[in-house]
Structure formats: C-alpha cells, structure tokens
C-alpha cells in the first residue's frame, strides 16, 4: 500500500473512533438500562453483556409514562398541525396577494425572531391563568403556536412558483383557497413534511414552558415527567436510563426514518434565521 492509502485509512479509523466516543453516552445509557440494578452498581465493565428488560417493565408499569406519552403526542401533534396550517395560509397571502398591511405584517414577523421566547413566559403565564388554562392541554399548546420560521420558509417556496399556473386556475374560476390547497400545497409536500418534522420535534422537546404551565403529574409531557420520576426512584440507575431512552425513542426513531427531511428542514430554517 502507498503512503497516501495508509493516511486515508488511518484518518477514516480516527473519525470512526471519534464518532464512537460521541455516541458513547447513548450507548452507556442503553447498556445501563439493560442490566439489573445490582449489576449497575457493581464493577461490571462497559460492554453490553446483559439483556435484562426488567427496568423497562418496571418503568412502564409503575410510572405515568404512558400518560405522558399521550400528553406529548397529543399536544405536539396539535401544535404541528395548527402551526403549519396557519403558517401556510399566512405565507400564501404574503407571497401571492396584494393587500394593505402586507409589508408591515411581514416585517413584524421577521422582527419577532429577535425576542427570546422565555422572556415572554411571565406574561404568557398570566395570560393562560386569566384564560383558566393553567394545567391543561391548551395551556401547553397555545403559547407554542408562534413559529415565524414556518411562515418565512413557506413564503420563500411559494415565491418560487411560476405565476402562469396561478393565472390559469384563476381564469377557470378557482378561488385562492382552491389554489393554496390544490396547487401550492401539493407542489410543496417535501418542505411541508420537513417543516412538520422539525415543528413536532421542537414541541416534543420543549421543556421550560410545559414545566411552568403544568402543575399536576397527570398533565405532564415526557420531558417534564421524566425529571419527576427521578426523585421518586431514589437511586435506581437502570430504571432512570430505561426511562430516558423510552422518552427519547419516538424522536430517535422518527429521525432515523425521516433523516433526509430532518436535515433539510434544519438547514433551511437556519438559513432563514441567518
């Protein structure tokens, strides 16, 4: 072998080692969760040498994890659907229609990027309390419906669609709604799935807001709930890791299935912010 080939092979090996170190925390969580509590605190080494599911069974049967799944799935789904629907409607009007206030609306949406979401939590909490929505699904959902990136990304994609198609439908007597849902949306399914996935992951992973607005164990979402179980378990490392992995499973599986879309969406939304 030539020197250059040797260099390439050793470089590749180095990268693989680095990647292995990078995922080690996840590997270690998995290994811990598949051991008995006794073995976790013994000198058992770092290899995945046991497949003991008792921690998972205990967590699923004793904690409120199934209920938290339901809360997380429900609120995240509603947030995703509403954010996308409202966002695409608004973006369509901004992109295709002339109306008084159009420029102002667009500027306000762009400017809202500057405001860090948690800075408004005090006022949002008061608002939710006035509306009687503390510790409810809608209390979790409503303040999370502000995702200006979705409007801006949709607007950019709608801007790129040739005007001739639009004129043809309008001459046939179609309304703007027909245009949006029968032409513009189907042409943009790709970006729609991508935006749906990152909106869903964002809502699923949000910790601070649900933590503030939820006051009872039955209303908790996954990221909030799993921090509470920790206390109840005392020292129970295998169970805590099983809990963490069960909480992460939906997003990990979702990411592995829709990898390309996730990547695409992350890059497009970052481009908009910059």
């Amino acid at each position: 072998m030539t020197a250059k080939q040797w260099r390439n092979i050793s470089l590749t090996a180095l990268i693989l080692i680095a990647a292995a170190i990078w995922v080690f925390p996840l590997y270690w969580a998995l290994t811990t969760s598949l051991r008995s509590e006794m073995r976790v605190v013994s000198d058992a080494g770092v290899w995945l040498d046991e497949l003991n599911f008792s921690a998972y069974i205990q967590v699923l049967s004793t904690s409120k994890l199934p209920l938290w799944y339901l809360n997380s799935v429900g609120t995240s789904l509603i947030i995703t659907v509403l954010v996308l629907l409202f966002g695409m409607m608004c973006a369509y009007a901004l992109s295709q229609l002339q109306f008084p206030g159009r420029r102002v609306l667009y500027l306000v949406i762009v400017a809202s990027f500057m405001v860090p979401a948690p800075a408004l939590y005090v006022a949002k909490f008061i608002l939710m309390s006035d509306m009687g929505l503390v510790n409810t699904w809608w209390g979790i959902i409503l303040p999370q419906l502000i995702v200006p990136v979705v409007v801006i990304v949709y607007k950019q994609f709608f801007d790129a669609i040739p005007k001739e198609m639009r004129e043809a439908v309008l001459l046939d007597g179609g309304s703007e709604f027909v245009l949006l849902f029968k032409l513009y949306l189907p042409l943009n399914w790709g970006i729609t799935t991508a935006l749906a996935i990152i909106t869903f992951i964002g809502a699923w992973n949000n910790f601070f807001w649900p933590f503030l607005i939820v006051t009872g164990e039955n209303m908790m979402t996954i990221p909030v709930g799993i921090t509470q179980v920790d206390d109840a378990f005392g020292v129970a490392y295998a169970r805590t890791m099983a809990l963490a992995l069960l909480a992460a499973a939906p997003v990990i599986i979702g990411y592995l299935i829709f990898q390309k879309r996730v990547t695409e969406a992350v890059m497009i939304s970052a481009g908009v912010k910059g």
Binding site: N8, L11, T12, I15, A18, W22, V23, P25, L26, W28, A29, V40, V41, L85, F86, M89, C90, A93, L94, L97, Q98, F99, L105, V108, I109, M114, P116, A119, L120, V122, A123, K124, F125, L127, L142, P143, I146, V151, S175, E176, F177, I201, N205, F207, L212, P223, V224, I226, T227, Y237, M241, A244, A247, A248, V251, Y255, V262, T263, V266, A270
Partner: protein, 294 residues
C-alpha cells in the same frame, strides 16, 4: 370581472387567509410582549395587580449583586461554548467531508443524533455518567484531579461541565450547517490548487476558510444567541448552584417570577435579557461583516 372588483376579492381572501395566524400572533406574542414591558414598570406579583413604580425595578436590578453574578455566568458560559463548539464542529465537518457514501451518512447520523434528544434525557444521561460513586466518567476525572469530583456540585467544575454537556447536545446542528457549506465550495478550486502544488494547510487557509466564512459566521451568531438564553440544562443539572456559580439570567427570572412571586421584577429581568440579545447580535453582526471583508 372588472379589475377593481377582482382586487377587492383578492384583498378579502388575503384577510381571511392571514386571520388565524395574525390572531394567534397578536394574542400569544404581541400582547405578552407589550405586557412584559408594562409589567416591568410595576410591582405586580405573578398573579394579581400591582402599582406603577417607574424605573424602580431597573434601578433595583442595577444594585442586585445576584444580577451581576448571573450576567457574569451567562458570558462565562458563552465563552465556554460558542467558539469551542464552532471549532469542534468545523473539525468534525472537515473530517466527515473526507468520507464517502454510506460511511459518511452513518458517521454524520452518529454526530447529529444527540441534537434531537429532549434536554431532560440529555441531563439524566450525563448526571448518571458523572455520578459521584458509580459514574463511568469518574475514573477519567480521577485521572486528572487524583480523586472523583461531584462535577455538578463543584463550584469550579459546574460551568465547564454544563458547557461540555451542551456542546455534546447541540453540536450536530453546527456540523450539519458547516458540511452544507463545505459542499458548496467548487471542487475545481482544490484541483487547481493541487496542480499549483499547494499543501493541505495552504488549501485550507486560502480556499476553505475564506469561502466557508459566511457559514461559520452564521453558526457563531446562532450559537451566541442560543447560549445567552441558557436555562434548561442549568436548571436540571445544578439549579444554579453551588454558591450561585451557575446562576444565569433566565434562572433569576424564573426564581423571581415563579418562586418568589415578583412578576414585575422578573419582567424587568426579561427585558434586560432581550436588550442584551439585541445589542450583542447587532455588535456581532457588524464585527463578523468586517471580519468577512478582509
């Protein structure tokens, strides 16, 4: 249909289309934004009415030692994360970019994976890895200091270790952006440089670095704003302790507003954080623009 009539119909459709978003935006963004501003000039509790106190909250904040501690910790955290994470991400991106096909996709997936995890999953895992008695990383800590350290309860270790956890969690995003940037650099530039006998270093500093700069600058800007808003990891790993050594601005806002029932004071803290983020991002934008022109 006449032009005027058609225009009227267009305007009506437009208002119907923007109505849901505008309504949600007005009620759950504009209203709270104005409310926070007004609250910051009152002595309101979290729930209930208060009196107008003018700039008293801001004056109090300027004399609040804990506020300076938080501010200092925020900037210390920015120092520990922003440039290091960008440098690490650049190294990873350059390395991953030398791989091809499926191997490249696999390695990229491994580096990106932590980014999609909920924050509490991340903190549970790292808390366990750094467990004082049984943590798998304690032998490593002992190698450096000679003895195990409860890192999230130690005033010197707490911020750097929260920074490590944060970098592990969020770095995948930066890697992704930088790889996209690298792929946009035309291949023939490197070929031409190789023909001229340029070394790897020369190729990096003359081609990669300047052409990648806009993306690097974007990563730095996004990171700076993100890390100024730190709360979740601190709250879950150390609750601002020990001895307030990891107390940050949002931690103070949370405690004043939601634990001590000082809605007005918490709003003033939120306003100051907002102002800091605006000023810092404008400053950084200007600096990076100058840096890019050279």
């Amino acid at each position: 249909m006449s032009v005027a009539k058609r225009h009227k119909r267009e305007v009506r459709s437009a208002y119907i289309l923007v109505a849901p978003f505008v309504l949600v935006f007005a009620v759950f963004f504009l209203y709270p934004a104005i409310k926070v501003l007004i609250l910051s000039f009152t002595n309101s509790p979290l729930i209930g009415d208060g009196d107008w106190v003018g700039f008293a909250n801001y004056a109090k904040l300027l004399n609040d030692r804990l506020f300076y501690t938080s501010l200092w910790n925020n900037f210390y955290f920015v120092f520990l994360t922003v440039v290091p994470t960008t440098a690490i991400a650049l190294l990873i991106a350059l390395a991953v970019n030398t791989l091809k096909g499926r191997l490249q996709a696999l390695v990229l997936t491994l580096f990106f994976l932590p980014y999609i995890l909920p924050v509490s999953v991340v903190t549970l895992i790292w808390d366990w890895m750094f467990d004082f008695q049984f943590g798998v990383l304690q032998p490593l800590v002992a190698l450096i200091t000679g003895k195990p350290v409860p890192v999230f309860k130690n005033p010197y270790w707490v911020m750097p270790m929260i920074a490590v956890v944060t970098i592990w969690w969020t770095n995948g995003f930066n890697v992704l952006l930088l790889i996209a940037g690298l792929r946009n650099i035309p291949e023939d530039l490197y070929e031409a440089a190789s023909l001229d006998g340029a070394t790897i270093w020369q190729r990096f500093w003359r081609i990669t670095w300047p052409l990648l700069w806009p993306v690097t600058a974007l990563v730095l800007t996004l990171q700076l704003i993100l890390q100024l808003k730190i709360f979740d990891q601190v709250f879950l790993l150390s609750e601002g302790g020990p001895f307030n050594r990891s107390y940050v601005i949002l931690m103070q806002m949370y405690r004043e507003g939601f634990q001590l029932n000082h809605g007005g004071y918490a709003s003033a803290i939120a306003m100051v954080l907002f102002l800091i983020i605006v000023v810092v991002s404008i400053l950084q934008y200007q600096l990076l623009r100058i840096g890019g022109r050279k």
